[in-house]
C-alpha cells in the first residue's frame, strides 16, 4: 500500500505541511520509491512497444521471404530476366515488370524534378505574400490526393487526351521511330509516366520547399547585400545550402514513383511484355502484383507474385539506403581542392603585394579590381543581362507552378463535374450502391449511394487507429526521450525506410500473415484494418518522435529542475506542449490510410453489403472507386466520382485542420 503522501512540490520557501517554517518541503521516502518504480515501468513500456515494432518489421521481412521462397528456389536468378508469365505451365519471370517499373519511374523523375524545383523555388523565394500560403496549401493538398483518384482522373481525362492528340503528335514528330513508336490506345507506358510525374511533383516540391525554407533568411540577405538579384541570391545563398534536402526530396519522389500502384494499374494497360516503345502497353511490379495477387493459385504462382513484391521491396530499400549514403557524403564534403592556393601564391608574388599588412594602409595604387568608375561601368554593362536572367527565372518558375497545379485543378473540376450532384444528396451516404444502369427514354436509373463502403472504411480506419496511435505515441516517446542510442537511431532509420515501402508490399505481407494464422480472415475487415495500421505506424512513430524532439531542452530541464520525475516531464511537459504537432502527424497518417487502395483491396477484398463482421470481406471507398472507375454504367461512374469527391473532401479537411492546429498556438514564421 502506498500511504497518502504530502504534496511533493510546493513553492520554494513556502511552509510544507508539518514542516518547519522555511524548511524545504519534505517528501516521504516511499513516494520516491513509487515514482522511481513508475518511471521504470513507463520506460519499460515504451521500450517494449518499440521492440514490438522491430518484431513487426522482422515478421514483415520473414513472411515476404518465406512466401517467395518456393519461387526463388525454383526459378533462381533467371526469374529477374525472364519475360514469361505462364499460368498454364507455371513458368514465371519478372523481366517485364522490372523494366516497366524502372522505365516509368526514371522518365517520371526526368519530367518531375525540374518542374518540382521550379515550384519549390517559386514558393520559397518569389511568391508574393498573398499567393504563398494558398499555393503552399494547394501543393500540399495535391500531394495528398489518393492514388486511386489520380488514376480515375487519368482514365477519364488523360487517356483520351493521349490517344487523340498528344501521342499522334509526338509520334509524327518523331516519325514513328522507336523509342517513341506508333501512337497507341492511351493505355501505355507514356501515360503511366505522366501520371507518375503528376503525382510526384507535389511530393518533391513540398519537401524541397521545406529544404529551401530551412535556409536562414540571413543567408539570402547576405547575398542580396552583396548586390545579388533574387535569382543570384537563390543560387548563391539558398540552393547550395539546401541541396542535400533537395536530393532527399528527389529520392523520396523516386521511391514513391517506384512503388506507385493503383494509378499506374489503371492506365498502363497491364500487358506482360518487355515494352518496345513509349506508346506500348506494359506493367510494373506493383501493378502486376495488384492484378494477380488475389487470383493467384496458392503454390508456385502465388509465390512468384510474392517474389515480385520482394524485388520491389529490395529496389525501394536500396533507393532509401543510397539516399542516406548520398546525404552523408554531401555533408562531409569540403569545398574546393588545392589548386587555388598554388595559383594565389604566384599571383601574390607577381603583384608584389606585401603580406603582413594586416589592417594597415594598402597602397591605393596597388592593382585590384579597379577604381569605382571601373566598377560602375562594369556594372552597367552586366546589369541588362543579369536582369534578363532574373526575369527568365521568374517566368520559368511561374510556368512550373502552372504546370504543377493544372492537373490538380483538373482533378477537382472533373470530380465536381461528374460527382458533384451525387455528394449533395443525403442518401448518397446512407444507401447501398445502385444497380448499373444507363439513362434512356422510359428508363429511370436508381441513384443509390456508398453507405456500406463508407461504413467499411470507417471501421477499418478505426481498427488502424487502435493499433497505430498508441504504438506510435509510445514508440515516439521511446525514440525521443529514452532511445538516444544506437538502438533508437536504428529503429528511427527503420521507420523511415518503412515509410517509403510501397503499400502494396505491406498488403502482401498482411495477407500472408493472416493466411498463416487464420486462413479465413485473410480477406476481412480485421486484416484490412491491420494493414492500414501497419501503413500508418511508421508515420505515427516518426512524426511523434519529431514532435517530441522539437520540444526545447530548456523546457524539459526547467521541469526536471522543479523536481518532476522524468516520466512526468515526458507525459505532462513534452506531450502537452507538442500536442498539436502530434495530432497533426496522426491526422496526416490517417489521411494517407483513408485514401490507400492497395492495402484494403488485397486485404479486405470487396463487398457490396453492409458490414457483416470483422472476419468477412469488407468494402471501402477506395475499393468502390477502383471497382467502378471503368464501369459502363453512367450511374455507377457518377457514384464513383462522388466517392472520389468524398475522399478529396476528407483530405482537404484533414489538411486544413492540420494547418490550423499547427498555426493556432504559435507560428514560427511570424517571428521577426
Amino acid at each position: 500500500m502506498v500511504p497518502p503522501s504530502p504534496p511533493a512540490r510546493s513553492a520554494a520557501g513556502a511552509p510544507a505541511p508539518g514542516g518547519e517554517e522555511g524548511a524545504a518541503p519534505s517528501v516521504r521516502p516511499s513516494r520516491w520509491a513509487v515514482l522511481t518504480w513508475l518511471g521504470r515501468v513507463f520506460h519499460g513500456l515504451t521500450l517494449a512497444v518499440t521492440i514490438g515494432v522491430v518484431g513487426l518489421v522482422a515478421a514483415f521481412a520473414y513472411f515476404l521471404f518465406a512466401g517467395a521462397w518456393q519461387s526463388i528456389a525454383y526459378f533462381g536468378l533467371g526469374f529477374l530476366t525472364s519475360d514469361t508469365w505462364d499460368g498454364v505451365h507455371n513458368i514465371y519471370g519478372a523481366g517485364p515488370a522490372i523494366a516497366g517499373t524502372l522505365i516509368t519511374s526514371a522518365l517520371a523523375l526526368v519530367i518531375a524534378v525540374p518542374i518540382a524545383l521550379g515550384v519549390a523555388i517559386f514558393l520559397s523565394e518569389l511568391a508574393p505574400a498573398f499567393l504563398r500560403r494558398p499555393l503552399i496549401y494547394v501543393v500540399d493538398l495535391s500531394a495528398a490526393v489518393p492514388s486511386v483518384v489520380y488514376g480515375f482522373w487519368a482514365y477519364i481525362v488523360l487517356v483520351p487526351l493521349m490517344r487523340m492528340s498528344i501521342e499522334p503528335a509526338l509520334s509524327s514528330f518523331a516519325g514513328g521511330h522507336s523509342p517513341i513508336g506508333q501512337p497507341g490506345t492511351g493505355y501505355d507506358i507514356f501515360t503511366a509516366t505522366i501520371v507518375l510525374a503528376v503525382m510526384i511533383i507535389p511530393t518533391i516540391a513540398a519537401i524541397s520547399r521545406e529544404a529551401l525554407r530551412a535556409v536562414p533568411r540571413i543567408q539570402r540577405e547576405a547575398a542580396l547585400g552583396l548586390g545579388a538579384t533574387r535569382w543570384e541570391s537563390t543560387r548563391l545563398g539558398v540552393l547550395r545550402s539546401a541541396r542535400s534536402g533537395i536530393a532527399a526530396a528527389v529520392i523520396l519522389g523516386l521511391g514513391r514513383a517506384l512503388g506507385e500502384t493503383i494509378a499506374v494499374t489503371m492506365v498502363i494497360g497491364n500487358i506482360y511484355i518487355l515494352p518496345g516503345t513509349l506508346f506500348s502497353a506494359g506493367s510494373t511490379l506493383a501493378s502486376w502484383i495488384v492484378d494477380n495477387f488475389t487470383e493467384a493459385t496458392p503454390g508456385i504462382q502465388r509465390s512468384a507474385v510474392i517474389e515480385l513484391a520482394v524485388i520491389l521491396l529490395a529496389i525501394t530499400v536500396a533507393v532509401n539506403v543510397i539516399a542516406r549514403l548520398l546525404l552523408r557524403r554531401m555533408a562531409e564534403r569540403e569545398a574546393g581542392g588545392s589548386s587555388t592556393r598554388r595559383r594565389l601564391r604566384t599571383t601574390h608574388a607577381h603583384t608584389g603585394l606585401a603580406s603582413g599588412t594586416g589592417t594597415g594602409p594598402v597602397d591605393p595604387a596597388a592593382p585590384g579590381v579597379g577604381n569605382r568608375e571601373a566598377v560602375a561601368s562594369r556594372f552597367a554593362a552586366r546589369l541588362r543581362t543579369r536582369q534578363a536572367v532574373q526575369w527568365t527565372f521568374v517566368v520559368v518558375a511561374s510556368l512550373c507552378v502552372v504546370a504543377a497545379i493544372a492537373p490538380f485543378a483538373s482533378v477537382l473540376y472533373t470530380a465536381a463535374q461528374y460527382g458533384g450532384s451525387e455528394v449533395i444528396r443525403p442518401s448518397f451516404y446512407t444507401a447501398v450502391a445502385p444497380l448499373g444502369c444507363n439513362p434512356a427514354p422510359g428508363v429511370t436509373c436508381q441513384a443509390g449511394g456508398i453507405g456500406p463502403y463508407l461504413q467499411g472504411s470507417l471501421i477499418m480506419l478505426g481498427l488502424a487507429a487502435l493499433i497505430s496511435v498508441p504504438v506510435g505515441l509510445l514508440g515516439g516517446i521511446y525514440l525521443s526521450e529514452y532511445g538516444r542510442n544506437r538502438f533508437g537511431r536504428a529503429v528511427s532509420f527503420l521507420a523511415d525506410v518503412m515509410t517509403g515501402v510501397p503499400t502494396v508490399i505491406l498488403a502482401v505481407f498482411v495477407f500472408a500473415l493472416f493466411l498463416y494464422f487464420d486462413h479465413f480472415a485473410a480477406l476481412s475487415a480485421i486484416s484490412g484494418g491491420f494493414a492500414l495500421g501497419v501503413l500508418m505506424l511508421p508515420i505515427t512513430i516518426r512524426s511523434s518522435e519529431e514532435a517530441f524532439r522539437s520540444v526545447s531542452p530548456a523546457l524539459r530541464e526547467s521541469a526536471l529542475a522543479l523536481g518532476f520525475p522524468k516520466h512526468r516531464v515526458t507525459v505532462r511537459i513534452v506531450l502537452g506542449s507538442s500536442r498539436s504537432a502530434v495530432v497533426t502527424g496522426l491526422l496526416l497518417a490517417a489521411s494517407r490510410a483513408a485514401g490507400d487502395t492497395a492495402t484494403v483491396l488485397l486485404c479486405a477484398g470487396g463487398s457490396t453489403l453492409w458490414f457483416q463482421g470483422l472476419n468477412t470481406p469488407t468494402g471501402s471507398i477506395p475499393v468502390f472507386i477502383y471497382d467502378n472507375f471503368g464501369s459502363n454504367y453512367a450511374n455507377l461512374q457518377a457514384a464513383a466520382w462522388g466517392a472520389a469527391l468524398v475522399l478529396l473532401a476528407i483530405m482537404l479537411a484533414i489538411g486544413l485542420g492540420a494547418r490550423l492546429a499547427v498555426r493556432s498556438k504559435y507560428d514560427p514564421t511570424q517571428a521577426v
Partner: protein, 251 residues
C-alpha cells in the same frame, strides 16, 4: 565639416502595421564612422537596413521618405546597384556554406562579371588583406568559409563586402556574437577602413561606439533623439534622454 555621403529625410518605416521608424532625418558624413546607439527595439537595425534597401526584403515591410546617396535618391535607383554601392555586414557571420574562403570573397566579384583568374585573385587577396585576414588564411584559402572561427568568419564577411568596393559599409552589431579579442580586431579594422569607405555601425556597446566612431546618433522608440560628434554626444549631450542613456541610467 566633411561632406555628406548619405542622407535621410523624413524616413518612416513599418513592419506590417507596426511603425518602427518615425520621421528620421540624419546625415552620414563621408569617410567617417557613424555609430548608431539606442536600447533594444529602438529602430537602429531597421534604420541601417533602410540604407541599402534591405528593409524591403522583410515580408510586409515598407518605407516612406527619401534616402540620398551622394545626393541621388536611392528609391529611384536599381536595388542591385544600391547594394553594390552600400555593402552590409550582419550581426552573425554569414559566410556562404559549401563555399571556400576564396569563393566567398570572390562571390560578389563574380556577380559583377569578373571572370579572369588574375583579376579575381587580385581582388580576393586585396579584400582579404584589407580585412586583415590574409595572413591567417593564406595557407588554407580553399578550406570552407565556415571552418574559420567566429571572428575570422566575420572578417571574411567584411572582406566579401569590401571586394566589390562599396562606398558605404553598413555593420549591424558586427561584434555581438564575438569574444573580446575578436571584437578588438574588428574595431581596429573599422578604424583602419574608414579612409576607404564610409561606415555606419549599429552597436549595443557604448564603449565600442566611443572607441570606433566619429559621429554618434542616438535612437529611442523609433525616433532619432540626437546626433553629433561622438565626443560631444558622450561628454555634453544636449538632450536629457541621451545623457541618461550614455551614462547608463537606462537601456
Amino acid at each position: 565639416m566633411p561632406q555628406v555621403k548619405m542622407e535621410t529625410k523624413g524616413l518612416n518605416a513599418w513592419y506590417g502595421r507596426r511603425q518602427a521608424l518615425f520621421d528620421v532625418s540624419l546625415d552620414v558624413p563621408d569617410g567617417e564612422v557613424t555609430a548608431i546607439i539606442g536600447p533594444s527595439g529602438c529602430g537602429k537595425t531597421t534604420f541601417l537596413r533602410c540604407l541599402n534597401r534591405m528593409h524591403e526584403e522583410t515580408p510586409g515591410a515598407r518605407t516612406e521618405g527619401t534616402i540620398l546617396l551622394d545626393g541621388e535618391n536611392l528609391g529611384r535607383q536599381n536595388v542591385v546597384q544600391v547594394r553594390c554601392r552600400v555593402g552590409m555586414v550582419f550581426q552573425k557571420p554569414t559566410p556562404f556554406p559549401h563555399m571556400s574562403i576564396y569563393d566567398n570573397v570572390a562571390a560578389g566579384l563574380r556577380l559583377l562579371g569578373v571572370r579572369g583568374r588574375g583579376e579575381l585573385d587580385r581582388g580576393v587577396v586585396e579584400a582579404l588583406q584589407l580585412a586583415g585576414l590574409w595572413d591567417e588564411v593564406e595557407e588554407n584559402i580553399d578550406a570552407a568559409g565556415t571552418s574559420l572561427s567566429g571572428g575570422q568568419q566575420q572578417r571574411l564577411c567584411i572582406a566579401r563586402a569590401l571586394a566589390v568596393r562599396p562606398e558605404v559599409l553598413l555593420m549591424d552589431e558586427p561584434c555581438s556574437s564575438l569574444d573580446p579579442i575578436a571584437t578588438d580586431k574588428i574595431e581596429k579594422l573599422v578604424q583602419g577602413l574608414k579612409r576607404r569607405v564610409t561606415i555606419v555601425i549599429v552597436t549595443h556597446n557604448l564603449a565600442q561606439a566611443t572607441r570606433v566612431s566619429d559621429a554618434t546618433a542616438f535612437f529611442y522608440l523609433g525616433k532619432l533623439v540626437e546626433v553629433g560628434s561622438t565626443h560631444q554626444m558622450f561628454e555634453s549631450p544636449r538632450e536629457k534622454l541621451t545623457e541618461n542613456y550614455v551614462t547608463g541610467r537606462f537601456g
